[in-house]
Amino acid sequence: MTVVAAYNIKGGVGKTSASVNLAWLAAEGGARVLLWDLDPQGAATYLLRIKPKVKGGGRRLVRGKSDPVALLKGTDHERLDLLPADFSYRNMDLALDATKRPTRRLARVLAPLAGAYDYVFLDCPPAISLASESVFGAADVLLVPLIPSPLSLRTFDQLRRFVADEVSEPPRILAFFAMTDVRRRLHQEVIAELSGRDGVLRTAIPSASDVERMGVHRRVLAEFAPNGPAGRAYAQLWDELRERIAPPGSVSPF
């Protein structure tokens, strides 16, 4: 089971869009996939047409008092399940703070699901907090959507330093450019300089109306616009990511 956390300190950079589209594509490729919507806003849960509610509340779940299996919801893709968002996740820091080894808590919640899924995607809320540190402790890969701008890159550097300095078993960090606009010179320059280098994936996700329309249709791109620019870019991004996160020397089963 490989845990991929879509994470960025900043909000509105495409974490939810990446989580739901990549999770769907992984399932479409034959893998058994779980998406855990950790964002109290519940956008991923909404897109998948599921009620943002965790029976017993998020606090009980992260403290190990609820069985995560009983909280799973199947999505419209047979191989993709969801652990839904809950508005109580807004207080996750408090819930974690009351536990022993809070940075290992999310990993412990996922442990009983290890045999059941090939990939787990975490759709994380923005900010850097105790909840983020618990995400770093659970994830094998931090997938960071970046808007190609100097400030965005500065934040990415901060994140890398933090993870390297503060996390005992740091996850791999892979970034990709999101919401790119090829008409903008700055975007072109930043992408040209960093794409494919230094932990940045080659595939960029263009700014496209299809991504916004996901919220209207409440469907992922593969369902209603697989051949649009964003749909194609996500398919390419999944191919690239899957290859990058496969263990060395292994042949991916999917």
Binding site: D76, V251, P253, F254
Partner: protein
């Protein structure tokens, strides 16, 4: 992570579109476009996956292990292109191999059925358009191969729940049953396809399982047992000849050995002269298959035997592994020629003819023929048991190995007798007796197998020495022979305790009361 699921039979002649219309009148469904899928179902010859309630299905380059009842997927991976036989050990590392390996062990997975189905998916939606129950109308045909026409199988409706929407599943299932009168399918589609192709649903067992009545004539009982054993030989012959996996030969040899035990122990129900011919014939059949089986065992255990050799040791024995494989190929070719010969064919056919006419044949020279089988069986079991007790008591620490080998042979004879006649006696007697016998036989078997393996290695010494890289291989073989000798010595040291349990007073009393 398994959603609930069920399969319902659609009434004969109801086309998918008509079924969809009928369902739409009852449920809020959205019909998707129909598609055709072709699936190959894989299992071992003896149906180990079927027994475990599992289905291994290949489709579109993907191999998935699913639950037979719910169709929930346990593990999946890539299906190697063009594969006609799969061994668990050859699959890529991952959950699929992890799940399959302990179940199928050394057995090969081969296609047991091919099915082409037209699938019409129908989704039951909730009020915001989310799928809460999945329905699929399946119209399957069995693909029988060899130019045979595909055969239509019973159409069915798959009803699969969605995690977290159990109530909706129950509601839909109840509606389908009460309003449309649909009943559960008695078995999965692949079982229908296996049967349509003339195969055995659930695989072909090599187990004995013969039901006898105590008052039955002994010759009729012997015929029933011998017929079953002959069927096992015949069933395992093609797989032995084609070298599908090593268990075909193993099961064939066990059936031959059991047949020989039956011929020997129930000699009094057969006419003496033809029996002598068949005893020679079956002895020969066992002899011609022996060297191949010995090499199969050596190679099956090669990894375990060479594991933990000192640094570089495992690499050192590589020439030995290749040499064993070369010998196996040569011995197998000899065996296959012998098994394909007219002589072997005639032996099996003539034995079958003898069995056909046995009960009606003259009883002269067949003193046990008309006696009740329980009487004959009881005598034989008690006699062989007592004989084993006498033989075992004479075995001391310095008794030559031959005596242990002889005891093991007698033990096999007793084991087979208990298996042949298990249905005549209470399980409470037979099971513990078989258990203590098995425990003794394990030790005796290890004692002898290690000797055979060490002898085989020693016999290959000159050949290995002459190979490139032969010197280090020879040295590693020395270590292996030592290990085998040490394990043989351990087995011998365990003998006394196991034998004591087997020959204990309580056991002797039970044998006397039950069989004598």
């Amino acid at each position: 992570m398994t959603p609930p699921a069920t399969q319902l039979l659609l009434p004969g002649g109801l086309a998918a579109a008509a079924a969809a219309d009928a369902l739409a009148g009852t449920l809020p469904i959205v019909t998707q476009s129909a598609h055709t899928m072709q699936r190959t179902f894989w299992d071992t010859f003896d149906g180990r996956l079927h027994d475990a309630g599992l289905v291994l299905v290949g489709s579109g380059g993907r191999l998935a292990l699913t639950d037979a009842t719910s169709s929930a997927e346990h593990a999946a991976g890539k299906l190697p292109g063009g594969a006609v036989r799969l061994f668990a050990a050859e699959l890529p590392a991952g959950p699929l191999r992890d799940r399959l390996a302990p179940l199928v062990e050394m057995r090969a997975l081969t296609p047991v059925a091919r099915v082409r189905s037209r699938m019409l998916p129908l989704n039951v939606l909730d009020d915001i358009g989310k799928i809460v129950v999945r329905l699929r109308v399946e119209e399957p045909v069995a693909l029988l191969g060899d130019g045979a026409r595909p055969l239509a199988l019973a159409a069915r409706l798959h009803v699969t729940g969605v995690l977290g929407y159990d109530r909706e599943f129950e509601r839909v299932r109840a509606q389908l049953r009460s309003e449309l009168g649909l009943v559960p399918a008695p078995r999965p589609v692949q079982d229908d396809a296996v049967e349509a192709g003339g195969g055995n649903v659930g695989g072909t067992s090599s187990k004995l399982r013969v039901q006898l009545r105590p008052e039955e004539r002994a010759d009729a009982a012997a015929v029933a047992i011998a017929r079953r054993l002959l069927a096992v030989v015949e069933a395992n012959l093609p797989g032995t000849l084609d070298d599908v996996d090593s268990e075909f030969l193993h099961d064939l040899r066990v059936a031959v050995r059991r047949s020989r035990a039956l011929q020997r122990e129930l000699a009094g129900v057969f006419p003496p002269e033809p029996l002598r011919v068949f005893r020679d014939g079956f002895r020969e059949l066992q002899a011609i298959t022996g060297p191949t089986r010995d090499l199969d065992v050596q190679l099956l255990e090669f990894g375990e035997l060479t594991a933990g050799l000192l640094d570089g040791g495992a690499g050192d024995v590589a020439p030995l592994g290749r040499l064993l494989s070369d010998h196996l190929r040569a011995e197998r070719a000899t065996m296959v020629r012998a098994l394909r010969s007219a002589r072997t064919r005639a032996l099996l056919e003539n034995w079958s003819d003898v069995l056909d006419g046995l009960v009606e044949s003259d009883e002269g020279g067949r003193p046990d023929a008309a006696r009740p089988v329980a009487a004959v069986a009881g005598e034989r079991i008690a006699t062989v048991y007592r004989r084993m007790v006498r033989m075992g008591r004479k075995i001391e620490d310095d008794t030559p190995a031959e005596a242990l080998h002889d005891l093991r042979k007698k033990g096999k004879e007793l084991r087979y007798l208990l298996e042949f006649f298990a249905s005549l006696y209470p399980a409470a007697v037979v099971k513990p007796m078989v258990a203590s016998l098995k425990s003794l036989q394990d030790v005796l078997g290890r004692f002898q197998d290690r000797e055979v393996q060490a002898d085989l290695l020693r016999s290959l010494g000159d050949e290995v020495a002459a190979l490139e890289g032969g010197a280090p291989a020879l040295m590693a073989m020395g270590v292996l022979v030592q290990r085998l000798a040490a394990d043989q010595a351990r087995a011998r040291s365990e003998f006394a305790e196991r034998f004591a349990a087997f020959a204990a007073k309580e056991q002797r009393t039970v044998v006397k009361q039950t069989f004598a």
